[in-house]
């Protein structure tokens, strides 16, 4: 792929993308660059509610910590792409929720590179999808040869409110060091029928019962976020549109 031609579905990182939307937006502006200096601390919340392609390159210096919290909810096609490089002892946290209905196509694509020893990364992604919406998480964790004592985790769950919705989840590990922990877990399911009935039997109308279960499902991803309350409120409002 060169910069002048847009990607196709044969490109792994774009295989579930809305290529028409990508073509229309091509060429993309240069990715946003974030450099967290050694020992620094960085926090950022991103709400994607307009149907944009957002690319971020982030370098986290020695011993620094960075956390990104993402709410991906808007537009026909919304994509957030992260390329994160961790230096020695750095720490990266991603907490993301993507909530889509109708024909929305939402995706989060990450490459987290542990370039040096002793860095930690934790990614937690929750998707809630209804209608014929598609939610995708493609997450690559790359561990360099010298990056011993890497500790990384990918925790990915999706909830389908309709059988016609689609969730894609793919962890990808590329590990060249031999003393590392790289956990990855993924689950795709639907709301627990007995739990829904239990809530309704106490007087909650079906929509409210679903909303309360979904709120619990996405809760946690925004823990410690800058403006946590606003993210939760926006997520709840979007969930309310789906049930």
């Amino acid at each position: 792929m060169t910069a002048t031609t847009h990607p196709t579905r044969r490109d792994e990182a774009w295989r579930y993308a809305d290529i028409d939307a990508v073509t229309a937006a091509w060429p993309l502006p240069a990715p946003e660059s974030i450099v967290v200096p050694a020992g620094g601390e960085f926090r950022r919340a991103i709400v994607q509610d307009a149907g944009a392609i957002h690319q971020i390159e982030m370098s986290i210096g020695k011993g620094a910590t960075a956390s990104l919290h993402i709410l991906n909810i808007g537009g026909a096609y919304g994509r957030i792409e992260l390329a994160v490089t961790l230096h020695e002892g750095a720490d990266f946290t991603l907490g993301a929720a993507q909530i889509g209905g109708g024909e929305q196509n939402l995706e989060i694509v990450t490459t987290v590179t542990h370039a040096e020893p002793g860095a930690t990364s934790r990614q937690m992604v929750r998707s809630v999808l209804s209608g014929t919406a598609t939610g995708t998480y493609l997450g690559k964790v790359a561990v360099a040869r010298d990056a011993q004592q890497t500790d990384s985790e990918q925790d990915v769950k999706a909830m389908l409110l309709d059988r016609s919705a689609t969730a894609n989840a793919k962890p990808e590990l590329e590990i060249f060091a031999d003393d590392v922990k790289c956990a990855h877990g993924c689950a795709i399911g639907e709301l627990d029928a007995m739990g829904l009935y239990y809530l309704q039997s106490r007087g909650l109308p079906p929509g409210e019962a679903k909303k309360i279960l979904l709120q619990a499902f996405v809760a946690g991803v925004f823990d410690g976020a800058e403006d946590e309350e606003q993210l939760q409120a926006l997520a709840l409002a979007k969930l309310g549109e789906l049930v």
């Binding site: 039997s201 106490r202 007087g203 709120q215 499902f217």
Partner: protein, 247 residues
């Protein structure tokens, strides 16, 4: 208050209830006893409107309304409470949040003002105290990590907060030790033994009935009520077994 006539119901196309009739008036406590597989839990779920429990014949009228025509949340707002045999764990949802939203949804459906956070907590604290359930447990996710006895006491706390007209309690005594059984029995009496309320207790054993004295005891077998009587019938069942009575 509740009139059930000739109720037939199937679960996954299998007939379970086969012509059950029962009338419960305000101020009465009824006990339904019966062997495993008689249809006791099916009866409670049919009355509670659980999806998958299909009524094929007969009727159930609650306070003059067609109960079977109402959604589960409408039944709750009308004053029906179902105590679950296996209370459901709901990770991530706090008891207090869920109960307050439930109560206020019921109040809204009845045209009443919502209860404020402060008033609700006061009410919750009072009912938790009655059932000797630590208030901290009410702040935890619904039933998650609760012991069997704590789950059942939590059901009764919910009943106290929601203040129903009719409680259907499905094996609320199972999983309780002797002390918890007394606490739960006392709780049922304190909350529900009133002239304007009624209870349908579903149980295998006589022991709960030592604490919650029923006015009527029914034996359910093969999807129908095969025998009805006063409290003495429960003792007779305990002594003779179901095989003898239900035959």
């Amino acid at each position: 208050m509740l009139t059930i006539e000739n109720l037939h119901a199937t679960v996954a196309d299998k007939p379970i209830l086969k012509g059950l009739s029962l009338a419960i008036n305000a101020g009465e406590i009824h006990a339904i006893m019966g062997p495993n597989g008689a249809g006791k839990s099916t009866l409670s779920y049919v009355l509670g409107g659980r999806p998958g429990y299909e009524v094929t014949e007969g009727s159930a009228t609650f306070d003059g309304h067609d109960l079977l025509d109402m959604d589960p949340h409408e039944r709750a707002a009308a004053g029906l409470f179902l105590g679950f045999q296996y209370p459901v764990e709901i990770p991530g949802v706090s008891n207090v949040q869920f109960l307050r939203e439930s109560l206020n949804a019921q109040r809204k459906a009845r045209g009443q003002e919502p209860l404020s956070g402060g008033d609700f907590l006061k009410l919750a604290r009072e009912k938790a105290g009655l059932l000797k359930l630590d208030m901290d447990m009410l702040k935890r996710p619904v039933n998650v990590g609760f012991s069997g006895g704590e789950k059942k006491r939590n059901e009764m706390v919910q009943m106290g907060i929601l203040d129903p007209k009719l409680a259907i309690l499905d094996e609320t005594d199972s999983g309780l030790d002797i002390d918890a059984l007394r606490v739960v029995g006392d709780g049922i009496n304190a909350i529900m033994r009133r002239p304007d309320k009624a209870v349908l207790l579903i149980t295998h054993y006589q022991r709960l009935l030592d604490y919650v004295q029923p006015d009527f005891v029914h034996v359910l077998a093969g999807g129908r009520i095969v025998k009805s009587g006063g409290p003495e019938l429960a003792l007779e069942l305990e002594r003779e077994g179901y095989a003898e009575i239900a035959a």
